[in-house]
């Protein structure tokens, strides 16, 4: 409960953060005075060196000035970089993977809208495209194989959201600490000591020559808090280059990483580090190509692989179904084989980006729905015009979901009393409801001191009392632009079958969905305007917002 308050306050604070009168005045003055001051200073105190500094920029300063042009802010929380003049933008999947359209701000302050073209949940890369632009300053994608440990690099980002108000990114410099690191799902990562912090995600890692060599995305931290201690990980540009054609043709969907199937290698954290083939399935690609148990893999695509982690990491940095050469050592004899990689399935739960009308099908005994059962006469709710039978969608700009109500049955009164507190002195608050299938926005007047909102939500009957609900699988909302939307699902469609399995209720829908994988194509039979219709929809990925930074 306390948490909600805090979140609310934070939201308010950010929304209302304003300027200072006095400081503003001083700043106005400053602009005028600054010029005078500097002139005075230069006349009296300044050594001639000062002027030189002003004129000649160091190579680092010049590289930074050039690199800044292609940087973009992705929404308020992430970073990105423009890679082509027609507006392709690369960022992290954990920054931009879960919605179809994004607001993108360039460093000169223009705001653009961008659509999700393709995303790579395992490789943590998303490709966005800015709508209707030409001649955008963009960055050249460099060759990350040429990097050397110790090389100077520049990272640009929006750490801690510092640039949200003044549209100014943050530049940090460092060197490449290590290459070819295997760090969770960054299987071929660049490690850098340029300070990276939350908000640097998706930002570019740039060489002194101004070429993009990596996309920053993860950190390790000394104190186990999300603050830099000099270890940042970036995805290599070469990995991105390999996936770029697939991302461009993904139509808002996923790309897949390569994987060796049916091969058993020593464990990454085990004693044996060398990539000996411990066991080979006869159906695996390596066996078919000619590799046998006991062989030592020395090179993959001419990259040396000394350890198991490097082998696994390198293979996973290639797209699925790419053909790679494997150099092996068998009884001191060198041999080379070529084989195609299998697909590395996306980990995580599948989802359709849809929501259903609230129904009686809640799992919890006697849970509350979003359906208004009764309204207390003369209460704030009654004055706002809420009627029994309305379904509440959002309140004060916050989406209301059945989950919230189940966890905090008193949620509305809580929000209400926050606005009516002596600190806020009441407010006009938006509430949107669905009435007879149409979304309506109503205005609630909250007066100071009034504690209750005045609605009672309908309780679900116990499970034994539950009857079959015809409208249970009627879609309330489809997230615009996402895979379900692209597949053709719309509001008020009723789901009948998935992959020829009949759906009875939400329970059977979720059970079925749990068995399917993200990215899988499914056949859906729906009822629309009284007619059945067949659609093919790609499943999305349910992201948990724990990873990344």
């Amino acid at each position: 409960m306390v948490k909600i308050f805090q979140i609310m306050l934070l939201l308010l604070c950010t929304a209302f953060s304003q300027d200072i009168k006095e400081v503003q005045e001083t700043q106005d003055l400053q602009d005028i005075k600054e010029v005078q001051e500097t002139q005075d200073l230069q006349d009296v105190k300044q050594e001639p060196k000062q002027a030189e500094i002003q004129q000649s920029k160091s190579p680092l300063e010049e590289a930074i000035a050039k690199a800044l042009q292609s940087y973009v802010f992705v929404d308020a929380s992430g970073s990105g970089v423009v890679i082509s003049s027609d507006g392709y933008v690369i960022t992290n999947d954990h920054v931009a993977g879960d919605a179809a359209t994004w607001r993108i701000r360039t460093t000169d302050g223009t705001m653009h809208y961008a659509d999700l073209i393709g995303t790579d949940p395992y490789g943590d890369i998303s490709l966005l495209k800015i709508r209707n632009v030409k001649d955008l300053p963009h960055i050249k994608i460099g060759n990350s194989d040429l990097l050397k440990a110790g090389q100077k690099v520049i990272a640009i980002g929006n750490p801690f959201g510092m640039g949200n108000l003044d549209e100014k990114p943050t530049v940090t410099v460092g060197i490449i600490s290590a290459l070819r690191r295997f760090h969770f799902n960054y299987t071929d990562a660049i490690m850098t000591d340029a300070p990276l912090n939350p908000g640097n995600s998706g930002g570019p890692l740039i060489t002194m020559a101004g070429e993009l060599v990596g996309i920053n995305g993860q950190i390790d931290s000394r104190f186990q808090i999300r603050v830099s201690s000099g270890i940042g990980y970036a995805i290599t540009s070469n990995q991105i280059k390999r996936f770029l054609p697939f991302l461009k043709s993904a139509k808002g969907g996923f790309v897949y990483h390569g994987h060796l199937k049916g091969v058993r290698l020593p464990r990454i954290s085990g004693e044996e580090k060398k990539p000996y083939v411990r066991y080979l399935d006869k159906t695996s690609g390596l066996y078919v190509a000619g590799i046998r148990k006991g062989d030592l893999i020395t090179h993959v695509n001419n990259y040396p692989v000394a350890t198991v982690s490097r082998l696994t990491g390198l293979v996973r940095s290639y797209p699925a179904y790419s053909s790679l050469t494997f150099d092996i050592l068998r009884q001191d004899k060198k041999k080379t084989y070529k084989t195609m990689l299998n697909i590395y399935n996306i980990r995580g739960r599948a989802q359709l980006e849809i929501s259903f009308y609230p129904s009686r099908g809640f799992r919890k005994y006697q849970a509350k729905t979003l359906l208004v059962k009764s309204v207390v006469p003369e209460s704030a709710a009654a004055k706002a015009g809420i009627l029994p039978g309305d379904i509440i969608v959002s309140f004060a700009g916050k989406k209301i979901t059945p989950n919230i109500i189940q966890r905090f049955p008193n949620y509305f009164n809580l929000l209400f009393s926050l606005y009516s507190s002596p600190r806020n002195k009441g407010a006009l608050v938006e509430i949107s409801v669905i009435r007879k299938g149409i979304e309506k926005v109503l205005v609630v007047t909250i007066k100071e001191g009034v504690k209750t909102f005045g609605i009672e939500l309908q309780k679900t009957p116990s499970i034994t009392e539950m009857k079959k609900d015809e409208k249970e699988l009627t879609i309330l909302n489809v997230q615009k632009g996402m895979l379900a939307y692209r597949g053709g699902l719309r509001r008020d469609d009723v789901l009948l079958e998935i992959n020829k399995y009949k759906l009875r209720n939400k329970r059977s829908y979720h059970l079925l969905l749990n068995r399917l994988k993200p990215g899988e194509k499914i056949d859906i039979k729906i009822l629309r305007n009284g007619k059945t219709q067949n659609l093919q929809v790609t499943l999305g990925l349910k992201r948990n917002y724990g990873g990344g930074f």
């Binding site: 500097t38 060196k49 750490p159 100014k168 530049v171 940090t172 490097r310 990491g313 926005v441």
Partner: protein, 566 residues
């Protein structure tokens, strides 16, 4: 003797072909001598005398051909059951323990084998701030798992004696070389090398309370112990090549009299029982890290010793702390009482007046922030009470004119912490360009995160007359429209209003929740952040005109901005 001769020859040869090593050269030179260490201990002190295996990991560095290896006590704390060394070329070698020196927190190991790549020892006694250094390590098992040494470049930011070690694993309290290069769990025991790739010190987890930065135990302290085992020679000190970092640090040393230690005496207040709260572990950890240490802060002398500037947070008391009783300025020569004249809270600046002017040989000249560029090197100087040694954190300017709570400051990559907050920010000419600050527990950017703020000198000169008059500025009231927003991606352009505060400017203007605000004073509003930006550029009492969409119709409304009620 023979060995020493060879070393001498080496020195001569290297002296003749004195060259500037790039970081890449150093990486190639030093990496082979760095090993990842896995140490297994048998602990018999456990329950029911059942022996328990304890696992330690860290880094080590080979210093002789025979395989003598230096590491930290936190990696090999006792005579171990087994030690495994991981080399960057993939070799795995076992090792034995030769000597354990708890007073130096150092363990000497011997790798089994011969002809090991190794690095020479540097004369660490002469190390000064601003010297370029590199750390090499095995953080989070990078050598063991990936055969990759993690390298980080930085400068020596201080040489001092650790008086209060806040790291639980380390108990070291002696001289350290402090650096701003990365040092993480697993790097301990690794080498700190100079610009020629010679060993300056062994990385330690020890951490001075006010600084909370990476430190290394200098190698000259260990020489005595090492000479018992083999003959070693410290390579002569050579000034690292001239660069901006070194120039700034030497300027900092030159003007070190201008940076002073302030002792703050607060009234003792009974500490209230900590409230039971359900904060997450990481939040608790962050809160404990961001808690300010007691009493000692850094100040900067201005105007020929007439006044002292420092961070306002450092010389005021927060909730739960006792009122300030006394502020004393400590210089190496004298102690002077000082009086707090005024503070400017938004800029985090406090002005103090010493009872008598502080005499220095020379004073900082005033620089300018107008010609600062992103990427330019600057330094933040500070004093540690413990030793009166100057510290100098060097980094680039990250952002020019950062809007921070709607005041303008400068952002830098140089590390700012409780020890140097209030200290001067200087450029390569040794001119004062600002005062470091904006470090407090509420700051989202934390200590030493590479995101730090300082107040520019032009701003300081602006606010100084008021400060001198004793006019303090608290966090002032802000203009207020009285709306909050609803993040909705389906709206192509504009900010959707979700709530309107009672009796606010927006309420009086007739704005309703659900309206989409699309422009303000003829400037279009793309998203809510734009609106916040626009309102912040206005003043309290100013009339604004804005356009909204209500029920698919455009409407124009006017409002008079009010004052923010909190």
């Amino acid at each position: 003797m023979k060995r020493q001769l060879i070393y001498l020859l080496c020195i001569l040869i290297s002296g003749i072909s004195a060259q500037n090593f790039t970081p890449q050269d150093i990486a190639v030179k030093v990496s082979p001598a760095v090993v990842g260490i896995n140490c297994v201990l048998v602990d018999k002190s456990g329950e029911k005398n059942r022996p328990k295996l304890l696992y330690y990991y860290g880094t080590g560095v080979i210093i002789s051909k025979e395989g003598l290896l230096l590491t930290n006590l936190t990696v090999v704390p006792k005579v171990p059951y087994s030690i495994t060394l991981y080399f960057t070329d993939g070799r795995i070698v076992s090792a034995s323990c030769v000597g354990i020196h708890p007073e130096l927190e150092t363990t000497i190991l011997k790798a089994n084998g011969n002809n090991f790549p190794h690095i020479p020892l540097a004369d660490s006694t002469k190390t000064t701030i601003g010297d370029r250094v590199y750390t090499f390590g095995n953080p989070f098992h990078s050598i063991e798992n990936d055969s990759e040494v993690a390298i980080s470049k930085g400068t020596v930011s201080g040489v001092y004696r650790v008086t209060k070690n806040v790291e639980s694993e380390s108990k070291y309290t002696n001289t350290v070389i402090e650096t701003n290069a990365a040092l993480n769990p697993g790097s301990d025991g690794g080498p700190l090398v100079n610009h020629r790739g010679e060993l300056l010190g062994i990385l330690s987890l020890a951490m001075q309370e006010e600084r909370r930065m990476g430190t290394a135990i200098p190698v000259h302290l260990m020489l005595e112990k090492l000479l018992d085992l083999n003959s070693f020679v410290l390579q002569p000190y050579e000034n690292s090549m001239e660069n901006d970092e070194k120039t700034i640090a030497s300027k900092g040393t030159e003007y070190s009299e201008n940076v002073i230690s302030l002792e703050i005496v607060r009234k003792d207040v009974k500490v209230k029982q900590a409230r039971q709260n359900n904060q997450r572990m990481s939040a608790q950890r962050k809160a404990s890290i961001m808690k300010r240490p007691k009493s000692w802060v850094t100040g900067t002398i201005i105007e020929e010793g007439q006044y002292v500037l420092t961070s306002a947070y450092q010389v005021t008391s927060q909730e739960g702390e006792g009122a300030i009783q006394k502020i004393t300025i400590h210089t190496p020569k004298q102690k002077i009482d000082a009086e707090l004249i005024a503070i400017h809270k938004p800029y985090d600046i406090a002005l103090l007046k010493p009872q008598q002017p502080i005499k220095c040989a020379k004073y900082f000249s005033i620089g300018s922030t107008t010609n600062l560029n992103v990427g330019q090197w600057i330094g933040v100087c500070g004093k540690l009470q413990a030793s009166f040694d100057i510290t100098c954190d060097i980094g680039i300017v990250s952002t020019i004119k950062r809007n921070l709570n709607l005041i303008q400051v400068y952002q830098t990559q140089a590390f700012i912490n409780y020890a140097n907050s209030g200290g001067p920010v200087i450029n390569t000419l040794g001119q004062l360009v600002g005062i470091a600050g904006h470090i407090y527990p509420q700051a989202t950017w934390g200590l030493n995160s590479g995101v730090s703020m300082f107040t520019g000198i032009e701003t300081l000169l602006q606010i100084l007359p008021d400060l001198k008059k004793g006019k303090s500025t608290q966090n002032p009231s802000l203009p207020f429209l009285g709306v909050s927003f609803w993040e909705n991606k389906n709206v192509p352009q504009g900010a959707i209003i979700s709530t309107v505060s009672m009796d606010s400017a927006a309420y009086k203007a007739g704005l309703l929740p659900g309206d989409i605000l699309i422009s303000l004073d003829n400037t279009s509003v793309g998203e809510w952040a734009d609106l916040v930006r626009l309102i912040t550029s206005k003043k309290i009492g100013q009339k604004i005109e804005f356009e909204i969409i209500r029920n698919n119709e455009k409407k124009k409304l006017t409002a008079t901005l009010g004052e923010r009620p909190w």
